[in-house]
């Protein structure tokens, strides 16, 4: 029960922050949509969609994946940076629940609020791309699994932020690095290890009506679970490192 209460606390915190700074949320939403609109306009005007994908459709899926990953991977690190600078982080460490679970719950709370927004942007992006806005439920489930993978990576990055403090430049770079990762096509073990690699392929297949295989589901579930478990372990590890170094509060 106490864990549910902790989740409620982080959920209400996220809600209060979004409500209080709704303009920030709204502008992020608008910018994300406008960027895609201009990309599509550019491709239509100068024609060569091959530079970013095989088609506008591929581009739309890639854009949704990119957007889902950028937010999920970097959001917790920004929160940690904020909590370190305003001094909130120590109170999470003093709680008997512990910082790993508190920040994991914070991630899930964020997830609850980000999902509807993410889907809304997806509908607009698909509309701009001229795709059907009625997507099969398995597309949404796959997207959710991708976001869970992103949150796992987010915990790893947050752990690194906890230890090395000023990681803003890395976090900014990551949004561009993801583009590179999304454009690559890896096989074998790398398909599991490189974030989001297999997801693009699977989401593309779903949109094209090909559907998914058992192997696809195995990939998505294991890859999301592995990243989440590794994320928790790494975050917990760095939480102990900063305790040993006496550097929780230093920023």
């Amino acid at each position: 029960m106490k864990y549910l209460n902790t989740f409620k606390g982080t959920f209400l915190r996220v809600f209060a922050e979004i409500k209080r700074y709704y303009l920030n949320t709204l502008s992020s939403f608008t910018i994300m949509t406008i960027i895609f609109y201009f990309i599509v306009m550019g491709i239509n005007k100068f024609g060569n969609p091959a530079t970013l994908g095989d088609s506008i459709q591929g581009l739309a899926v890639g854009y949704i994946v990119w957007m889902a990953l950028v937010g999920t991977m970097t959001d917790l690190s920004w929160t940690i940076i904020n909590d370190m600078s305003i001094g909130l982080i120590e109170q999470s460490f003093i709680s008997p629940i512990g910082p790993t679970l508190i920040y994991l719950f914070y991630q899930f709370s964020n997830f609850v609020f980000v999902i509807p927004l993410e889907f809304l942007i997806m509908i607009i992006v698909f509309k701009i791309a001229g795709l059907s806005i009625i997507v099969p439920p398995i597309f949404l489930i796959s997207l959710l699994l991708l976001m869970i993978q992103g949150y796992g990576i987010g915990l790893i990055l947050a752990g690194i932020t906890l230890r090395f403090k000023r990681t803003q430049s890395i976090l900014s770079l990551i949004q561009f690095a993801i583009v590179g990762v999304l454009m690559g096509n890896f096989d074998g073990i790398w398909k599991f290890l490189v974030p989001a690699n297999g997801f693009i392929d699977i989401l593309g297949k779903i949109i094209n009506g090909i559907g998914t295989s058992v192997y696809d589901w195995f990939y998505m579930l294991t890859s999301a679970a592995i990243y989440m478990i590794v994320g928790v372990i790494v975050f917990d590890y760095f939480a102990n490192v900063v305790r040993k170094r006496g550097e929780i509060a230093q920023y």
């Binding site: 902790t6 001094g87 109170q91 509060a249």
Partner: protein, 310 residues
């Protein structure tokens, strides 16, 4: 068994490639229901000690027991008995209201809706922020923010509360209010561990005092004992007229104030006072007033730390 026991605490940090021994084997015990103050100059090891108790820092050696629970092996159980107000503004969420702050910090310790619904109004009343409950914490005055931080620490109803510099940067009125709060908490049976530079606060509220310097304990005793140790050896002599050929400066601090001549002396032995009296008698100096100087805690602290330095 004390509410809090610290045994042979040691912590070394690596700073710019150099080893810095912050705490060098500190041991002490805080009794149930007392206000225990940790004092020391900057860099003495106070904050490392407080943070080790809260497990914000993992010590290299030593044991810490909170209500009998070893914090290194039973962290959650130990932390259930502890809450803290850390130095500065490091305790509240500036973008949440007073009420939201109390609710958030209550929830992240695992408390239920029902508990918080009953407890928050009580805390708001105690910290006198009932009227400000819907104001953003970031917009409150420094004194009110500190009251809120104390409110957050009180919410979990832990038997032990750690306060690191609770009056730092506060105006006189707010400091007095915090002092009153500490008395009220003591009356409620709370055990309070206080780290501060505010000697006035220590003098007024502390039961026992631990003075540390360079990571080591210099003294740990009841406040009254420390004050008495210095009080009996300090005297102030007020007199009139010429002091003739005697150079009073060699006996102590000599100065004039509002037309009166004053000699303040610190004695190793009371017989020295009689010797000075003899000199005054011989020189026909008329003493108007003689008093045993009430040393304040600041002087006690400075003397003890200087004694250690020397």
């Amino acid at each position: 068994m004390g509410a809090l026991e610290v045994e042979n605490l040691k912590k070394t940090y690596i700073s710019k490639g150099k080893k810095v021994e912050a705490v060098k084997g500190i041991s002490f015990e805080v009794n149930e229901g007392e206000i225990f103050a940790i004092l020391g100059p900057n860099g003495a090891g106070k904050t490392t000690t407080i943070k080790s108790i809260l497990r914000l820092v993992i010590p290299d050696e030593g044991k810490i027991y909170v209500k009998g629970f070893d914090i290194s092996t039973h962290k959650a159980k130990a932390l259930e008995n502890l809450s803290a107000v850390l130095e500065g503004n490091r305790n509240i969420h500036w973008k949440l209201t007073v009420y939201e702050n109390l609710r958030y910090f209550g929830y992240i310790r695992g408390f239920s809706d029902k508990f918080l619904k009953d407890k928050i109004p009580e805390i708001l009343e105690f910290i006198e922020l009932k009227d400000k409950k819907n104001e953003l914490a970031g917009k409150l005055s420094r004194g009110m923010q500190q009251k809120l931080a104390i409110g957050i620490a009180l919410l979990p109803e832990t038997p032990i509360i750690l306060l690191d510099e609770p009056t730092l940067g506060l105006d006189v009125e707010s400091s007095l209010k915090i002092r009153e709060m500490l008395f009220e908490l003591k009356n409620k049976g709370k055990t309070i561990l206080l780290s501060t530079h505010d000697m006035n606060l220590v003098e007024k509220v502390a039961d026992r005092v631990l003075i540390i310097n360079k990571g080591k304990i210099i003294v740990c005793d009841r406040k009254e004992n420390l004050l008495n140790a210095f009080r009996k050896k300090a005297y102030k002599i007020v007199f009139e007229g010429e002091n003739g050929k005697i150079d009073l400066r060699k006996y102590g601090k000599f100065y004039e104030e509002y037309g009166e001549k004053i000699l303040e002396i610190q004695l190793d032995d009371i017989s020295q006072l009689y010797e000075i009296m003899e000199i005054f008698k011989k020189e026909h100096i008329e003493i108007r007033h003689l008093e045993n100087v009430m040393v304040n805690f600041e002087e006690v602290f400075v003397n003890i730390v200087r004694g250690d330095e020397n």
